[in-house]
Symmetry: C2
């Protein structure tokens, strides 16, 4: 039997399929490259979180452009991260990376185009609904993706390679590199769903804790999982001499910390009026995920 | 004595200086790279056009975030265009290209961050003013920069290298690669200034003609100018075996076509209620520019 999150994931896959044209008179190669990475699977954790948060505050109707936009932005960041000048990765989600298939130049442009498309679609939707709340959600995403968010984290991450850093510095990288977008997902859902300021804040904190859990478990899985299970080469952190939680703690302690943070995340949900059962389940499942 | 456009350009330079922080606790390198290219000079033709169009339809107040956003997006596209995987250029506006100074990885991220920053700032401004017209302007920019606009043009340009293409195909590249953003600049100014639908349309067409003129003159200058005058290596089109207007026409005919298109652009201005004197002057000056 499918669990709840598989149902959400399938729904999101269906939305994503409508996000980019299959045929284009002018730009077939570009769309092929965009589609290749956007449809390469993945957990779709960010749009799932957004949808659950939206429902928890009593949101009604559909928020498809925002679900797709955050996944487009996540995907663009992976395409650029995998480039030879960056992490130089050959494999992503079990498939050759974008530049391996389409060449570097097209991969750079496909990433740029996904970022642009995310904003184009969100703003078009906000205009059609004449709804400032939707503009606010787009703004949250822009901020979380930019220099004070995800991109800032990528820079910090780059600068820390082959260096010994403190635990605080490591957490600072994570808060920006992966945490910002995960927290943004939850916050956007709460805003789009019309949550109260208190609910928006509580859910944002929930998202921040979850972002930390996500990263800790990522670090652990890179050590304990297999290539097949993870869909990308494991042990890459050690190979690239990367700072991770395992530079500071053993696996057992990492899981203990992750569980404590998950408990804090779940505690935040008390301040949300609606049904937060699924957000609680998702938080718990993130600690115990296998890929 | 300064001409009108130098006054506008200086004003825009001043706005741009406020666009990015000089000091950053976390992300100094990133902001240094962003500032390096954003403040490398250039004609600032896009924000100048936006401001003139805004004034022509009777716009009041300031539109700083939008002036800066279009220049940020133009700058990001240049940074990515210059990368080794793309045009592999060492010199831009008389200075070493971004990746030559900061390395490829930082250059990619600085480009990404400029694109994000453009949207963050515009949307923040739209929210502060609670103004859907501003959202509409941001949407115009997103669309013009994306896969159906500038990025689409970059893909077409790449695909056409070392190939013989038709004049129609060349024009299709230009309409997207450079024309989309120039037309967007004028259109955004008209929207932000509260122009009537007829004025917005007339000014958009003015912008489209101007984009073509801009590109034709660019092609000619690459042949007839010097490195010093142009601030970048001339004769690069021949060296890179690029298709340009000079593959189809001699210099004299190119100028004749440019003048015809300029006349058409100026004709569009008749449908604008306000004072379009400066827009007319700018159009004329674009044909005769030396860099």
């Amino acid at each position: 039997m499918k669990n709840n999150f598989e149902v959400y994931r399938e729904q999101i896959e269906k939305h994503l399929k409508t996000a980019l044209p299959e045929k284009s008179a002018n730009f077939q190669v570009l769309y092929d490259a965009m589609r290749y990475s956007l449809y390469a699977g993945g957990k779709r954790i960010r749009p799932t979180l957004m949808q659950l948060s939206f429902e928890a505050v009593g949101g009604e109707g559909e928020i498809v452009p925002y679900l797709c936009a955050i996944e487009m932005i996540h995907t663009y960041s992976l395409i650029h991260d995998d480039l030879p000048a960056m992490d130089d990765d050959d494999l992503r989600r079990g498939k050759p990376t974008n530049h391996k298939v389409f060449g570097e130049a097209t991969a750079i442009l496909a990433g740029d185009a996904l970022l642009n498309e995310a904003f184009t679609w969100m703003l078009q939707d906000a205009l059609e609904h004449d709804d400032m709340r939707r503009v606010q959600a787009a703004h949250v995403l822009a901020e979380a993706s930019g220099s004070e968010g995800m991109i800032g984290g990528q820079i910090l991450d780059m600068q820390s390679e082959n260096k010994v850093i403190t635990l605080e510095e490591l957490q600072n990288i994570h808060i920006h590199k992966t945490g910002a977008l995960i927290a943004a997902a939850v916050k956007m859902g709460a805003i789009l769903g019309g949550g109260s300021p208190e609910e928006v804040m509580a859910l944002t904190f929930y998202g921040k804790y979850l972002g930390q859990v996500f990263q800790i478990v990522d670090d652990v899985l890179d050590k304990t999982s297999t290539d097949e299970e993870l869909g990308k080469p494991v042990k890459s952190d050690v190979k690239n001499n990367k700072n991770t939680y395992l530079s500071f703690y053993d696996v057992e302690t990492c899981y203990k910390i992750a569980e404590e943070l998950t408990a804090k995340a779940i505690k935040c949900l008390e301040r949300v009026q609606g049904d937060t059962q699924l957000l609680e389940e998702l938080a718990t499942s993130l600690v115990h995920r296998k890929n």
